[in-house]
């Protein structure tokens, strides 16, 4: 049976890496945001996203 990661998994993994590289997110923040996308997927709402982004520690954006 094929156990390779799905395309969806690859997209989420790559998005997480890109977030870290953007310097607007630290490692933990990038992970928590992408975890939200993974868990909610099609049920995701803009308000969910903004709540999680607003609740992040401010520190990770300062070096941008």
């Amino acid at each position: 049976m094929n156990t390779e990661p799905t395309s969806e998994d690859r997209i989420f993994d790559q998005a997480e890496e890109r977030l870290k590289d953007s310097h607007h997110f630290d490692e933990a923040s990038a992970k928590s945001v992408v975890d939200l996308l993974r868990s909610k997927a099609a049920a995701l709402k803009a308000s969910d996203v903004l709540s999680v982004l607003a609740a992040l520690e401010d520190g990770c954006h300062e070096d941008s």
């Binding site: 998005a15 977030l19 803009a46 903004l50 982004l53 607003a54």
Partner: protein
């Protein structure tokens, strides 16, 4: 997964049918309306709980539950049962589903359910069934629909939904950032009004505060921070009632300084322009399109395609049209710009007036000036609504909202009269207060105003961070999605090109290329047309080629979607427009490249059904004929091999029936043999060929190929192969001779037509001879027919599908 047995009861046109698949490929063939597609529907219902072709777009009031059961059967009596096997489950087990409870799949082995779940998860997408109508979806769909459909079957549709949500979140964050900036402007205006400043600067604010601090003997401060405004200042005792009178007096003084006439003139100008525009429905429509057209022009790529829907346009045509539309909307866009200019000029002035009126209202009440407090509360309320109305986007104006653009009464007689009354009251109430007390009061109010400014500024910073993060998230996810999907589509495209090239290499499409590219919400699909460039697949290629492309794209996608988990693919009458030669090559692709896949194939085409058998895709026992359908009984199933049918005919002394079966089967068999061996058949313009045309040509070509193979084996010094070929040819000649032995019985040209005149015992000899001769043309292992393969149009070998039989035709060249 493999299906070993399938029992269908009261589904669509089937009353009751049990098919023995034994985990192998099967072809269900029969005329139109014989119930073949009901087998497909039954498999679909079993695995998904619904029938794909009865659901979704265009099916209207048709549904699985209403139209899935046989027309005369109760819903509860319609069911499907299958015996299946799965890797990791050591024995086959039964699964079944009934229309009475379509959501529930019964499983005879609960321990196998966990292994079954990944299969069902994939089959829910329905991409194990390909019917002709689905081929069209691959080929003729717009880029947007193709993307939606393919992403849906690859279970990637949630990706687009996530992307759209992230775009929406980024837009909301942008709006919040803009709104937060507006609040800062308002709070700064309030500060400047309190400080009697003409405009906001940090230095001016500091100067006012330091002046008041100096009055109180406090040192200057250098940073405008709320905590420092009253730092080191001794509090001044001041009665609140007295202070209210002082502040009321100051507010009334500020009111007198307002140029209300000028404000009224600007508001009137805005009101008139807004009222006029709100009546012009066409202009507003044009205005709403203006932004879209503008964005469209910016996004227009070199390919000239519509960036919104992906529709194809001639090079430059869409750009010219959009530019013209933009030109038509320039005038109305200018009107909007003028209106927005008036709004942005009015808003801060209205806010400043409201601030002062608010002070009047707040201070009048504790002084017992109830009538005036009530009047100014109304004015403040009106001004708040006015400011909110000015925030209405211009292109959303209606005659009702335009009415709100009229300035509420802020300088009418009532206000003026009450202001005068207030002024008299203030003169009577205002106590003598010292400069120190006034300075303390000012510092207190500036402290509060500055606190609100700083809070608003902090909110702007937070909103800015939120916006930056939302943008980064949108871009990171969008970029990752584009990268991964394009890599995925490249893999699928490469496989599609590989499969299609195998089917069409001999048509001069050996250098076939294609493009399958993700572009925003669209999926572009272009194919090469004989090295004349890339075009949409239905632009230049024939219908047969389009069908080939659809099948190849489906197979390429299946490999990705099914990921070796489902293992069953259903091809429902998919080769209608594909000719015999290309069907033969498709057989080879199915047999050689999809070894782990069990195909359930339906067709109305007897030739294709038998081609699947002679090419070794389907074993003789996998041939199921549906015939004699009627609404009461459903189809009659004939699973017998042709030889069994002939044997049964002879046993029943039905010579005519047996002769007919033999004649039909042999014409088809040797027609295929002629094609596979590239035999020369005398051309007939009528297209009416008989066994007398095919059999001698096929055998002559067979003998010729044996001779070529012998010559090749001799040149390589392969004596063993030479001996084997001599023996093979000897057996073949003997079999062929036996098939011709009864020629004395009839006119030579017509003797195959005269089999029915023979006695059963004589026909038995003919049958046995033909059965043995057919064996000569087939591999004893894979049952596939011998086929010539070529290099540069020259025969280089004769092989069966499994290559147990493999005659080299190429002689060794002298070194």
């Amino acid at each position: 997964m493999r299906i070993h047995e399938l029992e269908v009861t009261n589904i669509r046109g089937i009353r009751h049918v049990t098919l023995q698949l034994a985990g192998e490929n099967i072809v269900v063939w029969g005329p139109n309306g014989s119930g073949k597609s009901a087998v497909v529907d039954a498999v679909d219902f079993l695995l998904r709980g619904s029938i794909g072709r009865l659901e979704g777009e265009g099916t209207g009031s048709i549904s699985t539950l209403k139209h899935g059961p046989h027309v005369d059967a109760a819903v509860s009596s319609a069911h499907v049962r299958a015996l299946v096997s799965l890797p990791g489950v050591d024995h086959p087990f039964e699964i079944s589903r009934t229309m009475g409870d379509p959501a529930s799949l019964q499983c005879s082995d609960e321990g196998a359910r966990a292994a079954l779940e990944p299969v069902l998860e994939i089959t829910r997408q329905g991409h194990y069934v390909l019917a002709r109508r689905e081929i069209l979806k691959f080929i003729t769909a717009t880029g947007g629909n193709r993307a939606k459909w393919i992403q849906s079957l690859m279970r990637l549709d949630s990706l687009e939904s996530v992307r759209a949500t992230l775009v929406s979140a980024a837009n909301d964050a942008k709006k919040q950032a803009i709104a937060a900036t507006g609040v800062v402007d308002t709070e700064r205006t309030a500060f400047t009004t309190t400080a009697s400043m003409t405009g906001w600067t940090e230095d001016s604010g500091l100067a006012v505060i330091n002046l008041a601090r100096a009055t109180l003997g406090a040192p200057e401060i250098t940073r405008l921070e709320p905590g420092r405004v009253r730092e080191g200042v001794t509090a001044q005792a001041i009665a609140k009632a007295d202070m209210n009178a002082v502040r009321l007096g100051q507010a009334l003084e500020q009111m007198r300084r307002f140029d209300l006439a000028e404000l009224r003139a600007s508001a009137d100008e805005l009101f008139k322009a807004a009222a006029t525009l709100s009546q012009d429905v066409e202009a507003l429509k044009l205005l709403r399109r203006h932004n879209l057209i503008h964005a469209g022009l910016e996004l227009l790529g070199d390919d000239g395609k519509c960036p919104l829907c992906g529709a194809e346009w001639e090079q430059g045509e869409l750009e010219a049209r959009l530019t013209e539309e933009l030109r038509l909307s320039v005038e109305v866009a200018k009107k909007r710009e003028d209106l927005e200019g008036l709004v942005s000029g009015l808003l801060p002035r209205a806010a400043a007036i409201r601030q002062v009126f608010s002070t009047v209202q707040e201070t009048a009440s504790p002084l017992g000036l109830v009538d005036q407090e009530s009047l100014f509360a109304t004015v403040v309320n009106n001004l708040e609504r006015y400011e909110a109305a000015l925030g209405t986007p211009i292109d959303k104006l209606t005659p009702e909202t335009a009415q709100m653009f009229g300035l509420p009464p802020v300088s009418d007689e009532g206000v003026e009269a009450q202001s005068m009354i207030l002024a008299d009251q203030v003169a009577a109430l205002t106590p003598e207060i010292s400069p120190e007390q006034a300075a303390w009061d000012l510092l207190t109010r500036l402290h509060d105003a500055l606190d609100r400014v700083r809070i608003a500024e902090q909110k702007v910073r937070s909103a800015g961070i939120l916006r930056t993060r939302a943008d980064a998230l949108r871009d990171s996810y969008g970029g990752a999605k584009d990268d991964v999907l394009n890599a995925l589509y490249n893999t699928i495209k490469a496989r599609f090109v590989d499969l299609y090239s195998q089917l069409h290499a001999e048509d001069g499409e050996d250098a076939f290329e294609a493009l399958l590219e993700h572009d925003g919400a669209s999926l572009d699909f272009h194919v090469d047309f004989y090295r004349r460039g890339l075009h949409p697949p239905h632009a230049l290629h024939s219908e047969g080629h389009q069908d080939s492309m659809g099948i190849c794209l489906y197979l390429a996608l299946s490999e990705h979607v099914n990921r070796g988990i489902v293992g069953v693919l259903v091809l429902d009458d998919v080769v209608m427009s594909v000719d015999s030669g290309h069907r033969r090559r498709l057989c080879r692709v199915l047999k050689e490249q999809f070894l782990d896949t069990q195909f359930v194939i339906t067709t109305h085409d007897r030739g294709w059904a038998h081609q699947l058998k002679t090419e070794g895709v389907v074993a003789p026992e996998g041939m199921v004929q549906f015939c004699g359908w009627n609404v009461d009984t459903g189809p009659r199933v004939n699973e017998l091999d042709v030889w069994e049918r002939i044997d049964n005919g002879l046993a029943a002394d039905d010579v005519r029936g047996a002769a007919g079966h033999l004649r039909g089967a042999m014409e088809e068999f040797f027609a295929n043999a002629c094609e596979n061996l590239q035999a020369r058949v005398i051309y007939r313009a009528s297209g009416q060929y008989t066994l007398g045309d095919f059999l001698p040509a096929a055998f002559s070509r067979y003998s010729e190929l044996v001779k070529l193979a012998k010559a090749s084996a001799t040149s390589w010094g392969n004596d063993e192969a030479v001996d084997r070929l001599i023996e093979t040819h000897s057996v073949a000649k003997q079999c062929y001779g036996r098939t011709q032995a009864e020629q004395w019985a009839a006119n030579k040209a017509l003797h195959y037509d005269a089999w029915y005149t023979l006695e059963a015992a004589d026909l038995r000899e003919v049958v046995d001879a033909f059965r043995d001769l057919c064996e000569v043309f087939q591999c004893p292992d894979c049952r596939a027919m011998l086929t010539v393969s070529t290099t540069d149009y020259q025969p280089d070998s004769v092989r069966c599908a499994c290559k147990r039989l493999d005659w080299n035709l190429v002689k060794r060249t002298a070194s």
